[in-house]
Amino acid sequence: MWTFGKKLAAGLAICLLALVVIGVVAYRGVESLTRTSYWVTHTHSVLEQTVRMTAILKDAESGQRGFIITGEEKFLAPISQIDVDLPRTVKELRALTIDNASQQRRIDALEPLIAQRLVELNRILNIRRTGGFEVSQKALVTGTGFRLMSELDRALGDITAEENRLLAQRAEEVESAASMVRSTILWGTILCVVFVFAAGWRLTSSLTGQVGSAVQHIQSSSVELQAAANQQATGTKQQATAMGEIRMTITELLSTSRQIAESAQRVAKIANETVSAARGGDHTVQKTQESVAAIRRQVDLIVNHMLELGRKSQQIGGILEIINELSEQTNILSINATIEAAGAGEIGRRFAVVAEEIRKLSDRVGGSTKEIRSLVDDIRAAVNTTVMATEGGSKAVDAGTRQFSEVAESFSRIVGLVSTTTDAAREIELSTKQQASAVEQVNVAVSNVAQATKETESSSAQTLQTASQLAALSRDLTKLIRPQATA
């Protein structure tokens, strides 16, 4: 749907367009008239040159006749410059008709005739000067002067006729252009007037209809506005009651937020202390871990020593085997010596004593080697037990090391988590403080809203009054645009 502004702008634009069209046509017509006037002037200049050339030729003819008749040079004064004037006139004529090929051809035909005429003129004049009147008269009668003048008149007449034809043609063009300009201005003006009247009628009827419809809408809207103002007044009272309850709730919320902020502050403080304790524990665990690593190295050293001891014990066992073998062989030798001594009777009795002692000695050595073997076995068993126990201790140390690593890692995690908890508690504290601040602002805002509600309540009555005035105003507007309808 077009607004009034658009409609007015469209009407004015159409009028402006018509004016522009009329102006353009008139401008072009005036321009055509100006151009045609220039060419008319130009044609008159060509005619003027033609007339001038004819006059020069006529003056030459008259001067010639006067000089022949009288023989006085004064009659030749008008034609003293004819040799210069005629070529200059021809040149100017050629320049003026440079855009006309037919005139140029005619001028081309004119120039030899002028030259011949000047030669004939000078010849007759010279005859008069030398032969006298009779001779010159006879030469004049028998000469070509008359014929050349006739041809020159005819050529100049052709040029003049062509220019007169162009003059008539341009007069017609001027009349045509003037007629078109007159028609355009007349019909354009009529068309504009008709359009302005039609547009005015259309705008008036449209304005009356739309404004009337709008006024009716305003009237019905003002009635609705009255009803809405009544509802708003009721709602505003309810809103004021609700605002009071909200203020109480916000006061409680503010108190709770402050308590939360204090609790969060305590949590942050405890978390800080926990971080310090956890860092101390982490330090202790690291020192313990270093001690366990030292124990681990010592245990490895003990295991190596024990294994070396086991190897040495094995070597001792090997040596004991040799000693035992020697003891056994000694024992056998002593038994055989005893047997031999027994076979020797009384002679071998003292030898038998020595052999017996050797046997006893070998028995003792054998017993000692058995005891040493037992001891070595005990040592090897103890070494094995110690190695096994040390291996177990080593594994326990490894497990302890791993557990200490896990404990250290746990402490690190605890430190990280407690730091996170501290940050979170601080954030909670900060957020709760911000929340308390925001709640205070909300409290103030709610107070303002309550105040605004009261003001709204009072303004609702004013709105109701305004709506009534608006309804009355709409009725007045209706009377203005449709008197018959209100009547």
Binding site: E328, Q329, N331, I332, I335, N336, T338, I339, E340, A342, G343, R349, R350, A352, V353, E356, E357, R359, K360, L361, D363, R364, S368, E371, L375
Partner: protein, 175 residues
């Protein structure tokens, strides 16, 4: 065993060794016989030193076919070939098996008895040698020791029995 025990034992050994040279020779009337104590088939036996010619150990016996299953083979002792018989098999306490470690040579080294172990030798007083209840076996006497008693093996009886068994089997084999 601690250092005190070792020192005490060393002192005992030194004392016993010195005493052996300090004490007079044993009385012939008191120590009348010497016995070699062996063990075969789990039974301890005493053998008079006068009946044996020596003791050898860790010898290798080459198995040879023979008339008696108790024959374990032949071995070399002091440059002579000696047949080796299993004492436990001869006494019937165990079957002949691998060659035991110890060999007891006969008086003239004509044969050897293989025994499992050699426990040493003891002095037997006359009052300690008692007649055995089974006088017809190879142990006609019993040697009574301080804490135990054992049969006194008769080497000559064993050798005689072997000779008899060899002699009894030879004619049949010759046929």
């Amino acid at each position: 065993m601690d250092d005190d025990d070792v020192g005490r034992k060393l002192a005992e050994l030194r004392g016993a060794f010195d005493a052996a040279f300090a004490a007079p020779p044993p009385d012939a009337e008191v120590a009348v016989e010497k016995f070699l104590v062996t063990r075969s088939g789990g039974v301890a036996y005493a053998i008079r030193l006068g009946e044996i010619g020596g003791v050898a150990v860790d010898r290798r016996a080459t198995p040879v076919p023979g008339p008696l299953p108790e024959l374990l083979g032949l071995t070399a002792v002091r440059g002579k070939l000696v047949p080796v018989y299993s004492l436990s098999a001869l006494l019937g306490t165990a079957a002949a098996a691998a060659l035991p470690r110890w060999l007891i040579l006969g008086e003239r080294e004509e044969l050897a008895f293989a025994v499992d172990a050699m426990d040493g030798y003891v002095f037997g007083h006359r009052v300690d040698v008692l007649p055995s209840s089974n006088r017809s076996g190879h142990c006609p006497e019993t040697l009574r020791l301080e804490n135990s008693s054992m049969g006194i093996l008769s080497v000559s009886s064993l050798m005689k029995r072997i000779a008899n068994r060899v002699a009894s089997t030879r004619p049949l084999q010759e046929h």
